[in-house]
Symmetry: C2
Subunit: 181 residues, 2 copies
Protein backbone atom coordinates (compact mmCIF):
# COMPACT_ATOMS: atom_id res chain seq x y z
CA UNK A 1 0.00 0.00 0.00
CA UNK A 2 2.96 2.34 -0.46
CA UNK A 3 2.10 5.58 -2.23
CA UNK A 4 -1.62 5.07 -1.74
CA UNK A 5 -3.70 8.14 -1.25
CA UNK A 6 -5.78 8.49 1.84
CA UNK A 7 -9.16 10.14 2.14
CA UNK A 8 -9.61 11.66 5.55
CA UNK A 9 -13.00 12.90 6.41
CA UNK A 10 -14.59 14.42 9.42
CA UNK A 11 -18.35 14.45 9.47
CA UNK A 12 -20.18 16.48 12.07
CA UNK A 13 -23.60 14.99 12.82
CA UNK A 14 -26.06 17.49 14.28
CA UNK A 15 -28.51 15.52 16.37
CA UNK A 16 -31.96 16.97 16.84
CA UNK A 17 -35.21 15.68 18.18
CA UNK A 18 -38.11 14.59 15.99
CA UNK A 19 -39.51 18.12 15.85
CA UNK A 20 -36.24 19.61 14.68
CA UNK A 21 -35.02 21.05 18.00
CA UNK A 22 -31.22 20.87 18.21
CA UNK A 23 -29.50 18.40 20.52
CA UNK A 24 -25.91 17.27 20.83
CA UNK A 25 -23.39 17.28 18.00
CA UNK A 26 -21.04 14.35 17.43
CA UNK A 27 -18.01 14.11 15.18
CA UNK A 28 -17.45 11.02 13.10
CA UNK A 29 -14.13 10.40 11.45
CA UNK A 30 -13.13 7.79 8.97
CA UNK A 31 -10.14 6.97 6.84
CA UNK A 32 -10.21 5.27 3.46
CA UNK A 33 -7.24 4.27 1.34
CA UNK A 34 -7.37 4.99 -2.37
CA UNK A 35 -5.47 3.67 -5.35
CA UNK A 36 -2.09 5.07 -6.25
CA UNK A 37 -2.19 8.34 -8.13
CA UNK A 38 -5.90 8.95 -7.80
CA UNK A 39 -6.93 12.59 -7.68
CA UNK A 40 -9.57 12.70 -5.03
CA UNK A 41 -11.93 15.54 -5.86
CA UNK A 42 -14.73 16.04 -3.36
CA UNK A 43 -18.26 15.43 -4.57
CA UNK A 44 -20.67 18.33 -4.10
CA UNK A 45 -23.81 17.66 -2.05
CA UNK A 46 -26.26 17.60 -4.94
CA UNK A 47 -28.13 15.16 -7.16
CA UNK A 48 -28.53 16.05 -10.84
CA UNK A 49 -30.76 13.32 -12.20
CA UNK A 50 -32.98 10.50 -10.98
CA UNK A 51 -33.84 7.77 -13.46
CA UNK A 52 -36.71 5.37 -12.77
CA UNK A 53 -36.80 2.14 -14.74
CA UNK A 54 -40.04 1.06 -16.40
CA UNK A 55 -41.36 -2.16 -17.91
CA UNK A 56 -44.08 -0.37 -19.91
CA UNK A 57 -43.03 2.92 -21.50
CA UNK A 58 -46.47 4.42 -22.16
CA UNK A 59 -47.81 3.33 -18.76
CA UNK A 60 -44.94 5.05 -16.94
CA UNK A 61 -44.99 8.21 -19.05
CA UNK A 62 -48.76 8.61 -18.97
CA UNK A 63 -48.87 8.20 -15.18
CA UNK A 64 -46.61 11.21 -14.63
CA UNK A 65 -48.50 13.14 -17.31
CA UNK A 66 -51.73 12.37 -15.43
CA UNK A 67 -50.14 13.76 -12.24
CA UNK A 68 -49.80 17.03 -14.13
CA UNK A 69 -46.22 16.78 -15.37
CA UNK A 70 -45.60 18.25 -18.81
CA UNK A 71 -42.98 19.32 -21.37
CA UNK A 72 -41.24 15.98 -21.59
CA UNK A 73 -38.13 15.77 -23.73
CA UNK A 74 -37.46 12.48 -25.51
CA UNK A 75 -34.20 11.68 -27.30
CA UNK A 76 -35.85 8.53 -28.69
CA UNK A 77 -38.87 6.32 -28.00
CA UNK A 78 -37.31 4.87 -24.85
CA UNK A 79 -36.14 7.70 -22.64
CA UNK A 80 -38.30 10.54 -21.32
CA UNK A 81 -36.78 13.51 -19.47
CA UNK A 82 -38.75 15.97 -17.33
CA UNK A 83 -37.28 19.15 -15.85
CA UNK A 84 -38.01 18.80 -12.12
CA UNK A 85 -37.00 22.00 -10.36
CA UNK A 86 -33.22 22.29 -10.57
CA UNK A 87 -32.77 18.65 -11.50
CA UNK A 88 -33.85 16.18 -14.18
CA UNK A 89 -36.27 13.27 -13.74
CA UNK A 90 -36.02 10.47 -16.32
CA UNK A 91 -37.89 7.30 -17.25
CA UNK A 92 -35.96 4.54 -19.07
CA UNK A 93 -36.34 0.87 -19.89
CA UNK A 94 -35.55 -0.97 -16.64
CA UNK A 95 -33.41 -3.74 -18.17
CA UNK A 96 -31.29 -1.22 -20.08
CA UNK A 97 -30.95 0.95 -16.98
CA UNK A 98 -29.73 -2.07 -14.98
CA UNK A 99 -27.15 -2.95 -17.64
CA UNK A 100 -26.01 0.67 -17.94
CA UNK A 101 -25.75 0.97 -14.14
CA UNK A 102 -23.62 -2.18 -13.77
CA UNK A 103 -26.08 -3.85 -11.39
CA UNK A 104 -28.26 -6.97 -11.25
CA UNK A 105 -31.98 -6.29 -11.11
CA UNK A 106 -33.50 -7.69 -7.91
CA UNK A 107 -36.88 -7.57 -9.65
CA UNK A 108 -38.78 -5.57 -7.05
CA UNK A 109 -38.23 -2.54 -4.85
CA UNK A 110 -34.57 -1.85 -4.20
CA UNK A 111 -34.22 0.48 -1.25
CA UNK A 112 -35.05 3.88 -2.76
CA UNK A 113 -38.09 6.02 -1.92
CA UNK A 114 -38.74 9.52 -3.28
CA UNK A 115 -40.73 12.18 -1.47
CA UNK A 116 -42.71 15.26 -2.45
CA UNK A 117 -43.30 17.92 0.18
CA UNK A 118 -46.39 20.10 0.20
CA UNK A 119 -47.67 22.96 2.35
CA UNK A 120 -50.51 21.32 4.26
CA UNK A 121 -52.11 17.98 5.23
CA UNK A 122 -54.99 18.75 2.82
CA UNK A 123 -52.55 18.93 -0.09
CA UNK A 124 -51.13 15.54 0.92
CA UNK A 125 -54.58 14.00 0.58
CA UNK A 126 -55.19 15.81 -2.73
CA UNK A 127 -51.98 14.55 -4.33
CA UNK A 128 -52.60 10.99 -3.10
CA UNK A 129 -56.11 11.10 -4.60
CA UNK A 130 -54.76 12.33 -7.90
CA UNK A 131 -52.07 9.64 -7.94
CA UNK A 132 -54.71 6.99 -7.32
CA UNK A 133 -56.90 8.42 -10.08
CA UNK A 134 -53.90 8.39 -12.39
CA UNK A 135 -53.39 4.66 -11.92
CA UNK A 136 -51.12 4.46 -8.88
CA UNK A 137 -51.80 2.60 -5.64
CA UNK A 138 -51.93 4.12 -2.16
CA UNK A 139 -50.62 1.54 0.35
CA UNK A 140 -50.51 4.14 3.15
CA UNK A 141 -53.17 6.88 3.10
CA UNK A 142 -52.50 10.30 4.59
CA UNK A 143 -52.17 10.40 8.37
CA UNK A 144 -50.24 12.03 11.17
CA UNK A 145 -46.68 10.84 11.72
CA UNK A 146 -44.45 10.26 14.74
CA UNK A 147 -42.21 13.11 13.56
CA UNK A 148 -44.97 15.68 13.93
CA UNK A 149 -46.10 15.92 10.34
CA UNK A 150 -48.65 14.33 8.00
CA UNK A 151 -47.87 11.95 5.15
CA UNK A 152 -48.97 9.09 2.94
CA UNK A 153 -47.48 6.94 0.18
CA UNK A 154 -48.41 6.36 -3.44
CA UNK A 155 -46.71 3.76 -5.62
CA UNK A 156 -46.48 4.43 -9.36
CA UNK A 157 -47.59 1.72 -11.84
CA UNK A 158 -43.95 0.59 -12.17
CA UNK A 159 -43.62 -0.05 -8.42
CA UNK A 160 -41.73 3.09 -7.38
CA UNK A 161 -42.99 4.59 -4.08
CA UNK A 162 -43.34 8.29 -3.35
CA UNK A 163 -44.06 9.70 0.09
CA UNK A 164 -46.25 12.81 -0.05
CA UNK A 165 -45.63 14.79 3.11
CA UNK A 166 -46.25 17.94 5.06
CA UNK A 167 -43.29 18.47 7.39
CA UNK A 168 -43.60 21.59 9.56
CA UNK A 169 -40.00 21.06 10.76
CA UNK A 170 -38.50 21.77 7.34
CA UNK A 171 -38.77 24.86 5.15
CA UNK A 172 -40.62 24.55 1.84
CA UNK A 173 -39.66 27.63 -0.18
CA UNK A 174 -41.86 29.31 -2.80
CA UNK A 175 -39.66 28.00 -5.64
CA UNK A 176 -40.28 24.42 -4.45
CA UNK A 177 -36.86 23.87 -2.91
CA UNK A 178 -36.62 22.44 0.61
CA UNK A 179 -34.24 23.24 3.46
CA UNK A 180 -33.59 21.25 6.63
CA UNK A 181 -33.82 24.48 8.67
Amino acid sequence: MDCSLVVDCSLVVHYCDRRGRPGENRSVSCKRVGREGAILAAMDQRISLITLGYRDHARARDFYAALGWTDAVAPDDEVVFFQAGGMIFALWDRAKLAADSGVQDGGGWGGVTLAYLVGSPEEVDDVLARAQAAGGSVPRPGGTTVWGGYSGIFVDPEGHPWEVAHNPGWVLHEDGTVSLS
Copy 2:
Protein backbone atom coordinates in the same frame (compact mmCIF):
# COMPACT_ATOMS: atom_id res chain seq x y z
CA MET B 1 -68.90 4.87 -12.31
CA ASP B 2 -71.44 7.68 -11.94
CA CYS B 3 -70.04 10.83 -10.34
CA SER B 4 -66.45 9.72 -10.81
CA LEU B 5 -63.94 12.41 -11.53
CA VAL B 6 -61.84 12.21 -14.63
CA VAL B 7 -58.26 13.34 -15.02
CA ASP B 8 -57.61 14.52 -18.53
CA CYS B 9 -54.06 15.17 -19.45
CA SER B 10 -52.29 16.23 -22.55
CA LEU B 11 -48.56 15.72 -22.59
CA VAL B 12 -46.45 17.28 -25.32
CA VAL B 13 -43.29 15.27 -25.93
CA HIS B 14 -40.49 17.24 -27.54
CA TYR B 15 -38.37 14.78 -29.46
CA CYS B 16 -34.74 15.65 -29.99
CA ASP B 17 -31.70 13.76 -31.23
CA ARG B 18 -29.00 12.40 -28.93
CA ARG B 19 -27.08 15.66 -29.04
CA GLY B 20 -30.10 17.70 -28.02
CA ARG B 21 -31.08 19.10 -31.42
CA PRO B 22 -34.87 19.49 -31.67
CA GLY B 23 -36.95 17.15 -33.80
CA GLU B 24 -40.69 16.60 -34.03
CA ASN B 25 -43.19 17.20 -31.24
CA ARG B 26 -45.95 14.71 -30.50
CA SER B 27 -48.98 15.05 -28.26
CA VAL B 28 -49.98 12.23 -25.99
CA SER B 29 -53.35 12.22 -24.31
CA CYS B 30 -54.72 9.97 -21.67
CA LYS B 31 -57.80 9.75 -19.51
CA ARG B 32 -57.99 8.31 -15.99
CA VAL B 33 -61.04 7.90 -13.82
CA GLY B 34 -60.76 8.86 -10.17
CA ARG B 35 -62.81 8.05 -7.09
CA GLU B 36 -65.91 10.01 -6.30
CA GLY B 37 -65.31 13.33 -4.65
CA ALA B 38 -61.55 13.38 -5.03
CA ILE B 39 -59.99 16.81 -5.36
CA LEU B 40 -57.39 16.31 -8.01
CA ALA B 41 -54.61 18.83 -7.38
CA ALA B 42 -51.77 18.73 -9.89
CA MET B 43 -48.37 17.65 -8.62
CA ASP B 44 -45.54 20.10 -9.26
CA GLN B 45 -42.55 18.82 -11.24
CA ARG B 46 -40.13 18.57 -8.36
CA ILE B 47 -38.65 16.02 -5.96
CA SER B 48 -38.10 17.08 -2.35
CA LEU B 49 -36.32 14.13 -0.80
CA ILE B 50 -34.57 10.93 -1.82
CA THR B 51 -34.13 8.26 0.83
CA LEU B 52 -31.68 5.40 0.31
CA GLY B 53 -32.08 2.32 2.47
CA TYR B 54 -29.04 0.87 4.23
CA ARG B 55 -28.24 -2.41 5.95
CA ASP B 56 -25.25 -0.93 7.84
CA HIS B 57 -25.77 2.58 9.22
CA ALA B 58 -22.13 3.57 9.80
CA ARG B 59 -21.00 2.06 6.48
CA ALA B 60 -23.58 4.08 4.54
CA ARG B 61 -23.03 7.34 6.43
CA ASP B 62 -19.23 7.13 6.35
CA PHE B 63 -19.21 6.45 2.59
CA TYR B 64 -20.99 9.75 1.85
CA ALA B 65 -18.80 11.53 4.41
CA ALA B 66 -15.73 10.16 2.60
CA LEU B 67 -17.08 11.55 -0.69
CA GLY B 68 -16.92 14.96 0.97
CA TRP B 69 -20.50 15.34 2.23
CA THR B 70 -20.86 17.11 5.55
CA ASP B 71 -23.26 18.74 8.03
CA ALA B 72 -25.51 15.73 8.44
CA VAL B 73 -28.60 16.14 10.57
CA ALA B 74 -29.75 13.12 12.57
CA PRO B 75 -33.10 12.97 14.39
CA ASP B 76 -31.95 9.70 15.98
CA ASP B 77 -29.32 7.00 15.46
CA GLU B 78 -31.09 5.60 12.40
CA VAL B 79 -31.82 8.42 9.99
CA VAL B 80 -29.26 10.81 8.52
CA PHE B 81 -30.31 13.85 6.47
CA PHE B 82 -27.99 15.82 4.19
CA GLN B 83 -28.95 19.10 2.51
CA ALA B 84 -28.30 18.40 -1.20
CA GLY B 85 -28.80 21.58 -3.18
CA GLY B 86 -32.49 22.48 -3.01
CA MET B 87 -33.51 19.03 -1.84
CA ILE B 88 -32.81 16.59 1.00
CA PHE B 89 -30.87 13.32 0.77
CA ALA B 90 -31.54 10.77 3.51
CA LEU B 91 -30.20 7.41 4.66
CA TRP B 92 -32.50 5.10 6.64
CA ASP B 93 -32.71 1.48 7.69
CA ARG B 94 -33.80 -0.43 4.58
CA ALA B 95 -36.33 -2.73 6.27
CA LYS B 96 -38.02 0.21 8.00
CA LEU B 97 -38.04 2.21 4.77
CA ALA B 98 -39.72 -0.70 2.96
CA ALA B 99 -42.39 -1.00 5.66
CA ASP B 100 -42.95 2.77 5.72
CA SER B 101 -43.19 2.85 1.90
CA GLY B 102 -45.77 0.06 1.73
CA VAL B 103 -43.61 -2.12 -0.54
CA GLN B 104 -41.96 -5.54 -0.47
CA ASP B 105 -38.17 -5.47 -0.63
CA GLY B 106 -36.89 -7.28 -3.73
CA GLY B 107 -33.54 -7.58 -1.98
CA GLY B 108 -31.36 -6.08 -4.70
CA TRP B 109 -31.45 -3.13 -7.07
CA GLY B 110 -34.96 -1.95 -7.79
CA GLY B 111 -34.94 0.22 -10.90
CA VAL B 112 -33.60 3.54 -9.58
CA THR B 113 -30.27 5.11 -10.55
CA LEU B 114 -29.07 8.56 -9.41
CA ALA B 115 -26.70 10.76 -11.39
CA TYR B 116 -24.26 13.54 -10.59
CA LEU B 117 -23.27 15.90 -13.39
CA VAL B 118 -19.88 17.57 -13.53
CA GLY B 119 -18.18 20.04 -15.86
CA SER B 120 -15.63 17.86 -17.63
CA PRO B 121 -14.59 14.26 -18.39
CA GLU B 122 -11.62 14.71 -16.03
CA GLU B 123 -13.98 15.48 -13.15
CA VAL B 124 -15.92 12.30 -13.94
CA ASP B 125 -12.73 10.26 -13.48
CA ASP B 126 -11.83 12.16 -10.30
CA VAL B 127 -15.20 11.52 -8.63
CA LEU B 128 -15.16 7.83 -9.61
CA ALA B 129 -11.65 7.49 -8.12
CA ARG B 130 -12.79 9.14 -4.91
CA ALA B 131 -15.87 6.90 -4.70
CA GLN B 132 -13.66 3.83 -5.13
CA ALA B 133 -11.26 5.09 -2.47
CA ALA B 134 -14.23 5.68 -0.17
CA GLY B 135 -15.31 2.05 -0.40
CA GLY B 136 -17.59 2.01 -3.45
CA SER B 137 -17.24 -0.15 -6.54
CA VAL B 138 -16.89 1.10 -10.11
CA PRO B 139 -18.59 -1.39 -12.45
CA ARG B 140 -18.31 0.99 -15.42
CA PRO B 141 -15.25 3.28 -15.53
CA GLY B 142 -15.39 6.67 -17.24
CA GLY B 143 -15.73 6.56 -21.03
CA THR B 144 -17.38 8.31 -23.94
CA THR B 145 -21.09 7.64 -24.43
CA VAL B 146 -23.38 7.23 -27.44
CA TRP B 147 -25.15 10.46 -26.45
CA GLY B 148 -22.02 12.55 -26.98
CA GLY B 149 -20.86 12.83 -23.38
CA TYR B 150 -18.59 11.02 -20.92
CA SER B 151 -19.71 8.98 -17.93
CA GLY B 152 -19.06 6.13 -15.55
CA ILE B 153 -20.85 4.42 -12.65
CA PHE B 154 -20.02 3.94 -9.00
CA VAL B 155 -22.09 1.78 -6.66
CA ASP B 156 -22.19 2.73 -2.98
CA PRO B 157 -21.50 0.06 -0.32
CA GLU B 158 -25.27 -0.47 0.06
CA GLY B 159 -25.71 -1.30 -3.65
CA HIS B 160 -27.10 2.03 -4.89
CA PRO B 161 -25.65 3.09 -8.28
CA TRP B 162 -24.72 6.65 -9.24
CA GLU B 163 -23.80 7.68 -12.76
CA VAL B 164 -21.15 10.43 -12.81
CA ALA B 165 -21.48 12.25 -16.11
CA HIS B 166 -20.37 15.15 -18.25
CA ASN B 167 -23.23 15.97 -20.64
CA PRO B 168 -22.44 18.87 -23.00
CA GLY B 169 -26.08 18.82 -24.19
CA TRP B 170 -27.45 19.97 -20.81
CA VAL B 171 -26.68 23.13 -18.83
CA LEU B 172 -24.89 22.75 -15.49
CA HIS B 173 -25.34 26.06 -13.68
CA GLU B 174 -22.90 27.55 -11.16
CA ASP B 175 -25.26 26.79 -8.25
CA GLY B 176 -25.21 23.08 -9.21
CA THR B 177 -28.70 22.98 -10.74
CA VAL B 178 -29.15 21.38 -14.16
CA SER B 179 -31.39 22.35 -17.08
CA LEU B 180 -32.38 20.29 -20.09
CA SER B 181 -31.64 23.27 -22.34
